[in-house]
């Protein structure tokens, strides 16, 4: 039970003419973290999951502090806050040790790309999502997160 932590290098061109990492690019960082989370965690469950597709149904992001390019990467921390019948919520923080630059949430819907409609989450997918729920009541030794170098 832990946050999934992705190390996110910044590119100089991620900044816009205000000298800030552009608001849209933050959403790209969230997507990278989300895909990494599924790609890394799902195979560990021993079954193929999320391969049938997921779509984003809703996103909310709060930009707290302007992020500027630097040689040091930032971290995107992601965790699951709700698992429904065919959708789930992910919360994120884009941060480093000094500050939290943005907080966000996404609602993700399991999607059947052939039928072009939502589908129920499979049991194996639920198991993966349950392991990504960041529960503050969990044991302290479970809270370290998985550090991924990219």
């Amino acid at each position: 039970m832990s946050r999934h932590v992705v190390t996110c290098p910044l590119r100089w061109s991620d900044m816009d003419s205000a000298g800030h990492v552009n608001n849209i690019v933050h959403l790209r960082y969230l997507e990278e973290a989300r895909i990494d989370m599924f790609a890394l965690r799902a195979p560990q469950s021993g079954v193929p999951v999320f391969t049938e597709g997921t779509v984003v149904a809703q996103q909310e992001i709060e930009y707290l502090i302007p992020l500027r390019y630097g040689a040091e990467p930032v971290r995107v921390e992601a965790w699951v806050t709700r698992v429904g019948n065919s959708s789930f919520d992910i919360a994120y923080e884009i941060r480093d040790d000094a500050a939290c630059y943005a907080r966000a949430t996404s609602t993700i819907v399991a999607f059947d790309l052939n039928m072009n409609t939502s589908r129920p989450l499979r049991a194996a997918e639920r198991a993966v999502l349950a392991a990504l729920a960041d529960d503050i009541n969990d044991r302290a030794d479970d809270s370290a997160g998985v550090e991924v170098s990219r």
């Binding site: 205000a18 800030h20 608001n23 959403l27 149904a57 909310e60 790309l113």
Partner: protein
């Protein structure tokens, strides 16, 4: 008054699911916002003197590349002392693909801090207001 931006899609806006990628919608909103402020001339470069403080996007239907543009309707729903809220709807006549709401903060790029909305800006923003 609602501003209507005719938004041309690109084939590369789609991801491997053959839907316009979720992140690209935010780029459409940025283009719509910039055109709205430019067209209604609040004060010359308003679109370059703001930052986004918050976005909320609801993806209602997958959008697939087509050569015909879609419409992005934008209007101002709230004008505060140093921030405003802009609402957006990406649609194609009857079909609504996305609804979004963004909190925009006027920003002093030299001082790198938020600044109050100037009176001339407020007057122009009021013309873009819908409730």
């Amino acid at each position: 008054m609602k501003h209507v931006y005719r938004c041309q899609l690109r084939r590369s806006d789609m991801d491997s699911y053959r839907h316009v990628n979720n992140v690209v919608y935010a780029a459409y909103l940025e283009d719509a916002r910039a055109e709205m402020f430019r067209a209604h001339k609040p004060v010359a470069p308003f679109a370059e003197r703001i930052v986004v403080a918050r976005h909320r996007l609801q993806y209602l239907r997958p959008l697939v590349f087509r050569p015909e543009p879609v419409s992005v309707e934008s209007w101002v729903s709230r004008i505060g002392t140093s921030s405003l809220t802009v609402e957006h709807e990406i649609h194609d006549g009857e079909t609504v693909y996305c609804r979004a709401s963004s909190v925009i903060v006027p920003f002093d790029l030299d001082a790198q801090c938020a600044r109050p909305i100037e009176p001339a800006e407020r007057a122009a923003l009021e013309a873009l207001s819908e409730h």
